[in-house]
Amino acid sequence: MQIVIFLNYYPIFKTIDQLKASIFKPHSTKLYFLPLQLFIKMNTLFTIKIKKYWQQYFELLFWASALLLLFFMRVNTEAPTLCIFRWLGINQCPGCGLGHSINAVLHLHFSASFKYHPMGIFAVIIILNRIKQLSFKPKYIIQ
């Protein structure tokens, strides 16, 4: 029953204003469905908002958190690798050493970073440029 109602209601409300209007005017007179309906409508409202913010800020969040985690990465310890290819048993990859390289750039050790991977400096410049682009882009409004 829950699923059927959800399927019935989900595609109808395309904008947030329609949803808000429909919450205060339930068009079913069956009172025992009312709490369920309210719950589902609030839920859809919530998911639409979350989806909007997710679409807008996912990439920005990813790049910023990646740079932060690489800054605080401990390099000199013997830790298991995070590389997917290493787990599969492949030891040669064109991006090998990039994490250590970016870590060295963020701590301003440029020659060490060039030794790990020659594209570390370029990568940091490009990623910072992308973060700038993403954080100053014009915000679109749905509807």
Binding site: F62, I84, P94, G95, Q143
Partner: protein, 117 residues
């Protein structure tokens, strides 16, 4: 009337439709025709971007970044195997908003060209 014309754009996303409706509110019908014909040539479908992303698993990473006009990112992805496959997976998750961002830019360009006539 305007909404019907905008719905003629092939495989349009709901977000894009809403954005274009607000963006082309002030245009007359002739100019809207011109705008749509210009915009149709410039825009990219989400499917093509997704397929370009998937090329990263074959070994040619970063094609989608070149296609959407981010050349620096494209070079970085190409020479590091899509940031060791992590960047490729992230862009597959994120391909809809990448396309939408590119299409918004193209809508701006097309609008500039239409206003120039």
């Amino acid at each position: 009337m305007n909404t019907n014309l905008i719905a003629l754009i092939p495989s349009i996303e709901p977000d894009e439709l809403a954005y274009l409706q607000a963006f082309t509110k002030d245009l007359t019908e002739d100019k809207l025709h011109l705008f749509i014909s210009l915009y149709n040539n410039k825009r990219k479908k989400t499917d093509t971007i997704l397929i370009c992303c998937l090329l990263g698993f074959v070994g040619v990473a970063g094609v989608h970044r070149f296609v959407t006009g981010q050349v620096g990112m494209g070079i970085l992805y190409f020479f590091t195997g899509g940031l060791c496959l992590i960047g490729t997976v992230v862009d597959i998750i994120n391909h809809k908003s990448l396309t939408f961002e590119f299409n918004q830019k193209m809508a701006m360009e097309a609008m500039g060209m239409v206003k120039g006539f």
